[in-house]
Symmetry: C2
Subunit: 406 residues, 2 copies
């Protein structure tokens, strides 16, 4: 029951990227559960990862391998997160890289491993290794939708996004896929996002752009406030478009790329929310008029996490008092509640900290009936703002998460 | 569907306290929705209140009136919270006190008002005032259960607790009532708790005891992480027992009272969790081995708030990986995940940060099948600890909160 999620887009080949997949039977038979990306030599590859201290073994291996310079493969499995698995988990992640690297004829350090699924159970290494020849033999430039399907867990639909732009007579593509529906409150990245471009762009600059854009996309979405152990977001610039290497963020080409990259990252992040577990609403929480940006971020996330706000959204109930109650407990220093204003889908609901004199219950009901909800909170204290995207909280969420493992 | 909640206890009269009630029809007909407590002259009355910046008008009036010395009445209504109501809300709270004080023949500042119910709608002052003569005429010493019923909103059962103790040949009673089932993550107090004793005890000492005990009772429970706008907890020592005024916290009588007072406060706090909205489990989250007590508190609350942990508890699913994932994201500085241990109802689940070598799925299932769940987390970093009590997250919670207003 995804909310307003578009069909998987038609993504063209990106020079320097090939995609393979296989059915390893890790958790379920007849499901694509292994995906590989093959990258051309010299591609700039950067990543951001979960801040969860219980980060998964593959996350640690990725961080180590990214210190080297030549990443040639991304190897992704679903059905098992290889997190909370201790030393054996690290050994399994490394072993998978080694065996895969041997088949592909590259160094083990050229492989980035990713896992997603149940936490705490041993990685079924043998099943994954047995599926790798099939994955390698299926490498093609246009397997994007298969990759989107192959990285899904509780997602109901594959998620992709693409932008193209021209610059100086040359055509560039930025495209990516993402997955995630529960345990979604990324901190530095989501579980999982991959964005590719054929642009030639300096690795350090790409890292800088990724770290910045992630704070306006994946790091601003939340489904259930639970930060995953496996969140990973990878950006790749293959350089196959043939342009001169971009090194200056202020150059027109860098800015054109950044615009397309931001759109792709936001679309992929929003897709995760739209397909959030049990989602029936897509909710934008915008907080403005804050003294500090951190105040705006804090209030937006507290509203987005409140079970009472989320159940009211599910019920399409204009129970706006719950929103004010969250604003009041969010921990904003010296908050003057008498200056707080609240709009929902353009209707003024509260002014000067209490119900607007013009408010009519019909307005609230009309605003809340939509599948797309825009909550705007003005703290009346300054010029800072931030925006977070989330879902409502439905029976379906409880059903999905009460049944997930069994 | 309250979990293991005892029947309302038989509470004896406490000298110096009389209780009245009425049906004002604030939200529903034929429901006790106004409760008053009459206190003898000279009773020590202290309180702690919500830290929510959007605190309700009655909370502000209470705080003001408690600065005076002679509180004679507590006046409580349900069905309307008088919060998020701005200036008009303050005027309504004060007006109610004034009119009630006139009928009772005391000063308006001798009345403490409390409101609980829907946020953001005007207090129906006329209905409340019309019910006050009935409430005043019903004043008796043994109306405890009626009071427990009269302060309920989404609670399914009234909540009371009583302890008696003897000291130096004199018998003392400590008793109280509480309410609350949703919007429960008190910060300084819960919505609502009232504890009474006939002991003669210095007001400043009583305040000190209340502030301390609330941090081991009401401030350590959470149903849904939402701090109410109206949380209030009041302690009254009438002095009618006739003992010499207790002023020294180290005196044997002070310690005997403190022990009984703590038990009553904890029982009332636990009763709120046991009757938490949609609760099917009563869950104790104990975190030990922390370097700082604040680390233990933080981890315990994060586990207690996690929707993924709460839905796994509802499903009786030993999905313990979700608990480790929360420990990892809780923000404990320099957490060494390889030292983390986890027990559930006595079974060792995780050791050294991953699944215990002795763990069997049957153990996990047996542990999670119980209605009473004890989650013990050892961070292996020090000697500090803290305990939080909470519930699971069920379909019923969504139903209750999606339907509450309509």
């Amino acid at each position: 029951m995804a909310v307003g999620l578009q069909d998987f887009p038609s993504i063209p080949e990106i020079k320097g990227v090939k995609i393979g997949f296989a059915e390893a039977g890790i958790k379920k038979p007849n499901k694509k559960d292994v995906v590989i990306f093959e990258l051309c030599e010299g591609a700039a590859v950067v990543g951001v990862f979960t801040q969860n201290a219980f980060c998964a073994a593959p996350v640690r291996v990725c961080q180590k391998h990214l210190l080297g310079s030549d990443i040639r493969y991304l190897l992704i499995n679903t059905g098992n997160a290889n997190a909370g698995t201790g030393k054996q988990g690290m050994e399994n992640a490394l072993l998978t890289c080694q065996e895969f690297a041997r088949s592909a004829g590259v160094a083990a350090e050229s492989v980035l491993p990713f896992s997603t699924g149940v936490i705490g159970e041993p990685l079924p290494v043998a099943k994954i290794l047995a599926a790798l020849p099939t994955a390698l033999s299926s490498l093609e430039g246009d397997n994007w939708k298969a990759a989107g399907l192959g990285i899904m867990t509780t997602d109901t639909l594959p998620k992709g996004s693409v932008r193209t732009f021209e610059f100086d007579g040359r055509r560039y593509t930025v495209a990516g896929i993402s997955k995630g529906a529960g345990m979604i409150r990324p901190n530095m990245a989501t579980m999982l996002g991959y964005v590719f471009s054929d642009i030639a762009l300096d690795k350090a600059l790409l890292q800088q752009m990724l770290s910045s854009v992630v704070n306006k996309s994946f790091n601003r979405i939340t489904v259930d406030s639970d930060t995953s152990t496996n969140d990973s977001c990878i950006a790749v610039a293959t350089g196959a478009a043939g342009n001169d290497l971009v090194t200056d963020i202020n150059s027109p080409l860098a800015q054109a790329f950044l615009a397309a990259f931001t759109e792709v990252m936001q679309e992929l992040a929003h897709a995760i929310v739209r397909d959030g577990e049990g989602a029936t609403k897509f909710v934008t929480v915008e907080v403005k008029g804050a003294k500090l940006e951190s105040d705006a971020t804090k209030v937006a996330f507290e509203v987005a996490h409140s079970p009472l706000v989320k159940t009211a959204l599910f019920a399409s109930d204009p129970n706006w008092g719950r929103i004010l109650a969250v604003v009041g407990r969010a921990g904003v220093e010296a908050l003057d509640v008498d200056k707080v204003q609240l709009h929902i889908n353009g209707f003024e609901i509260a002014r000067d900290g209490c119900r607007s004199p013009d408010y009519l219950e019909e307005h609230g009901q009309e605003a809340m009936a939509s599948e797309e909800i825009q909550i705007q909170i003005d703290l009346g204290a300054g010029d800072s703002s931030d925006t977070v995207w989330t879902t409502d909280f439905s029976h379906e969420y409880v059903t999905i998460n009460a049944d997930y493992r069994t």
